[in-house]
Each structure stands twice: as structure tokens, then as C-alpha cells.
Amino acid sequence: MRKRSTFLLTAMVFGYAFLYIPLVLVVLYSFNDSRLVTVWGGFSLRWYGELLRSGDVLSAAWLSVRIATVSATGATVLGTLAGFALARIGRFRGRALFTTMIAAPLVMPEVITGLSLLLLFVTLQQQIGWPATRGATTITIAHITFSTAYVAVIVRSRLASVDMSLEEAAMDLGGRPFRVVRDITLPLIAPAILSGWLLAFTLSLDDLVISSFVSGPGATTLPMLIFSKVRLGVTPDVNALATIIIGLVAIGVVAAGLVLRRRPAWRQTE
């Protein structure tokens, strides 16, 4: 029915090849026995073995997962509250400042966020003695701060599209505000809250720059460890690590797809 031009097709094939060839190559290298990427030394799981034996990779990964879980949860609570305030409270004192503080982290360069938070922690330490050391706690606080903005934006736009007459009807029927939110609004925006949590979790797992600024000597997250490795050049165990991460993401996407497919029909019409 539609005429598709050769140019368009070529551009798309090129574009998708560009996006995926590096990932495919990393997966291939990870099974290469040779240390040199261009020499195929035969299929091997050697680098996976080395990865699992190196305690620092595992402990860094565990630290990253813990920080991501806590910070995603914190950011989801704060971001949902902020999204509610922006979408459901019409006017309040300081709204302009609040809106700016929600929007600004989305465009703020990471080096500035990291630098400013580190300077805050240093100042606080001098003034009130807290935080005594920088590490997992300061990284978590930093991650909550920038992820909150993303969650707030997602929740706010979801709330804007939710029919307010449902809430008004519940209020008219005598529901107290808290109950209306719990029984009507929260179930309606649950998908947005979930995707906000997932995004915050991913952002936290992925963050290198802000973590590097606010971390102390004791705490090394997975991206910080990878960064220190890749600065020295290509290392095969990083290929294995990348392959594991790509695999986990692929599994997650397939699982999410299956869950969405089973969503009740009345929700799909929204």
C-alpha cells in the first residue's frame, strides 16, 4: 500500500546496524578465548570465570544494586508526592521555585550535580558533623535527588491524563481525601509509579559521574569499577560483564512484554 523508498530503507538498516553492531560484537568478544579482540582464539567461558572469581566486581555489583533499590524507592516516594503536588494542587506559595527544582535536574550536567552535592556534603560535615564519611549513604542521597525529578515528571503527566471526575465522584460520595487517593487515584497511576521506579533504578545503576564525586574511599559502585578498568584499555572480563547486563535487560524486556500482554482489556483502552 505504501511506497517505501530505497533511501528510507537503507537509512533504517544503517541506523539499526549502528545501534546494535557494537552490542553484538561485545557479546561475541566475551566468548573469545584470546585476549586480543581481533584474534579468535576459540569459544571459551574463561572471562566469565574470571569475572565470578574477582571479588571486587561482585561486591561492586552488589553495592550498586543495593544503592539502586533504596534510591529508586526513595525517589519514587518523593517523586510521586511531587507529581501529585504539581498535578493536583493548583496554587501554592513557592510553586514557581518548586517547578524549577523539579525540572532543573533533568537538564543539569552531571558534573555540576556531582560537584555541588559533594560541596554540600563537605560543608555539612564541617558544620554539623554529618555525614561523617562519604560512601553508600551519600551516593544514595545523590541518586534520590536526581531520580525524583524523573519520577515526578512521569507521575505528573499520568495524573494529568487521569479523569478527575472519578476522584470527584468518590469525594461526592463521601470518601475522605486520603481514601480517595488510596482507592481511586493510586491504582489508576500505578503503571506510572512502576515505570518511575524502574527508570530511577536504571539511572542509579548506570550513574558514574555523580557517584564518583560524592563517593568516599570505601565505596566503589559497579560503573566506577568498570570506568577504572576501561581507562586502561579493552579488558575481556568487561565484555563478559556487558554481556551479562545485556542478557538481564533482554530478559527484563521480554518479561515486561508478557506482563503487559496479560493486562486486563479495560486498561488497554486507556
Binding site: A11, L25, A87, A160, P177, V234
Partner: protein, 302 residues
């Protein structure tokens, strides 16, 4: 969007719900930024912390309050810093244009695909975003290094007889930036192009317009808001980028994000690092302002 009726008094639970995120952002977002501003107008000293306090009661009266613009003058007078700012702008601008050149046809193709194909194609654009940013940048090291895949391929094909030096140059930084930011270009462009009324295109074609002319006179002007959004979403983070120049760039790749990092950690000159950061933010205010004006206009239209 604010609800139509304004509530003069907030419920207690509303106040509470608002106060928590508000307080958090005041402490962990606004206050840190004010501290950066404060340190950018302090004198560097060899001490811990390495800067002078803005207000110090122990100093003689009249001098208790001390501020200086010396750090800003120092940065702006230094050719290297100015060059770094300009270089960051140039790298970000070129990367943005490359993203547009690759991303526009892709977004157009996705928008014109059938419904089922479209969701798969969109997912494929978003998918790399969920894997690690750092590892995706790292993937290019194995391709671009002197004994990497690209050079081996070109040598084998006889196109070159000596390996090309691509890794640790600006070319590698461009490739890394286009690769990392391409989804940010494609998604807003797609969102715009998919809403494009096909009746307009058919009408133009029925009136005898050749496909290239229909594209130039109808599609392109109508997709302009998407082009602006995509370009800014690439340009703004690209200016302050740290990871890509640090992993793929050479020592001569001057980017401002890297300078802030080095100035802070290697030179330990906090006042100058803060001044560089404040100037970077001032530089970003222009594209951010354009973006927000565009966003609010789009928001009020839909």
C-alpha cells in the same frame, strides 16, 4: 496542568505531601547549587577546605565579608578555558547535526511503518538505553582501536595499508556521542512525525507535488517542533558530557565537563572548578530557555 479551580487552603495531608519533596529539593538541590555559587566567589587557599569563607567574623571589621570575581576573570582570561568552552559547543553542535542526519530518516521510517512493526522498531530504539551507558561507550573501544574490528576489516579489504588512529581522537568522541544520544533525537522526532496528518501529504501528492517537494514543503516544516526538541535533547547533555570524552577522547579532546572534573580532583582548585561550573550553567541557560518555551507551547497546544 493546574486544575481549573484553585484551592485557597490546602488540606493538612496536602501540605505534608508537598513539604517532604519540597524540603528534600531545597536541601539537596538548591542549597548545593548556592554553595557552588558561594565558592566560585571565594579565594583559593591551601587549606581544608581550600577556599576562604564568604563571611568571617575573625577578620577585621569592614573586611568580614569577602567576595571576589577573580576566579571568573581567571577562567575567562585563560585561552585554554575559553577554547574548551568553544570546543564543547562545537563538538556538541556537530554531534547534534549528525544525530539529526541519521535520526530523521529513522524516525520518519518508524512513523510510516505499520502499527505492529512500529512498536517493535520503537522498542529497538529504546532498548540500548536500558543497558549501561558506560558499557555502550566502551563497546566502541574494541571497534575503533588500532588493532580493533574496524581497522582489521579495512586492512583486510585492502582499503588502507596502515591502521587508522581513531580511538582517543575527536572522531571517536563524535561516534560515541552520536551512538549514545541517537535515541534522544529519534523519539521526539517520531512523536512529532507520527501525528502528521497523512491527508495533507496525500493532498499535496494529488496536487501534483513530487515526493521530494512534498517532503520539503509539507513534512519538513510541520516536523520543525520535533527537530527542535530532538536537537536540544542531544545538544544540552552533550555540552557537559564527561564519560564519552574521558573514555574515547584523547588528551587533546577539550571538553568542559572533563575540565570541571580534573580541576576539582587533580588540581584541587575548588573555587576555579566552581567558577567553571557556573559558567557552564550560564552557557546552558540559552538552549534550556528555548527548550522550556517550546515545551510549554507544545503543552498548551495539545
Amino acid at each position: 496542568m493546574p486544575p481549573p479551580e484553585t484551592r485557597p487552603r490546602l488540606h493538612t495531608w496536602q501540605r505534608f505531601g508537598l513539604a517532604i519533596p519540597y524540603a528534600w529539593l531545597l536541601i539537596f538541590f538548591l542549597a548545593p547549587f548556592l554553595i557552588v555559587l558561594k565558592i566560585s566567589i571565594a579565594d583559593p587557599v591551601v587549606a581544608q577546605p581550600p577556599f576562604t569563607p564568604l563571611f568571617d567574623a575573625t577578620r577585621p571589621p569592614g573586611e568580614a565579608f569577602h567576595a571576589t570575581l577573580e576566579n571568573f576573570r581567571f577562567v575567562l582570561d585563560d585561552r585554554l578555558y575559553v577554547l574548551t568552552y568553544l570546543n564543547s559547543l562545537e563538538l556538541a553542535a556537530v554531534a547534534t547535526l549528525l544525530c539529526l542526519a541519521i535520526g530523521y530518516p529513522m524516525a520518519y521510517g518508524i512513523a510510516r511503518a505499520s502499527d505492529a512493526t512500529r512498536s517493535v522498531l520503537l522498542l529497538l530504539v529504546i532498548l540500548p538505553f536500558w543497558t549501561s551507558f558506560l558499557l555502550r561507550v566502551y563497546a566502541w573501544m574494541g571497534i575503533l582501536n588500532s588493532r580493533g574490528v574496524l581497522n582489521s576489516l579495512l586492512l583486510w579489504a585492502g582499503i588502507i595499508d596502515r591502521p587508522l588512529e581513531i580511538l582517543y581522537t575527536n572522531t571517536a568522541v563524535f561516534i560515541g556521542m552520536v551512538y549514545s544520544y541517537l535515541p534522544f533525537m529519534i523519539l521526539p522526532l517520531y512523536a512529532n512525525l507520527v501525528r502528521l496528518d497523512e491527508a495533507l501529504l496525500e493532498a499535496a501528492a494529488d496536487l501534483g507535488g513530487r515526493p521530494s517537494r512534498v517532503f520539503r514543503d509539507v513534512t519538513l516544516p510541520l516536523s520543525f517542533p520535533g527537530v527542535i526538541a530532538g536537537c536540544l535533547l542531544v545538544f544540552i547533555p552533550a555540552i557537559g558530557e564527561f564519560v564519552i570524552p574521558a573514555v574515547l577522547g584523547g588528551s587533546d579532546t577539550l571538553m568542559i565537563g572533563r575540565v570541571v572534573y580534573d580541576e576539582f580532583f587533580l588540581n584541587r582548585d575548588w573555587p576555579v572548578a566552581s567558577a567553571v561550573a557556573v559558567l557552564l550553567l550560564l552557557l546552558l541557560l540559552i538552549p534550556i530557555g528555548i527548550f522550556q518555551r517550546y515545551e510549554s507551547r507544545e503543552g498548551s497546544e495539545s
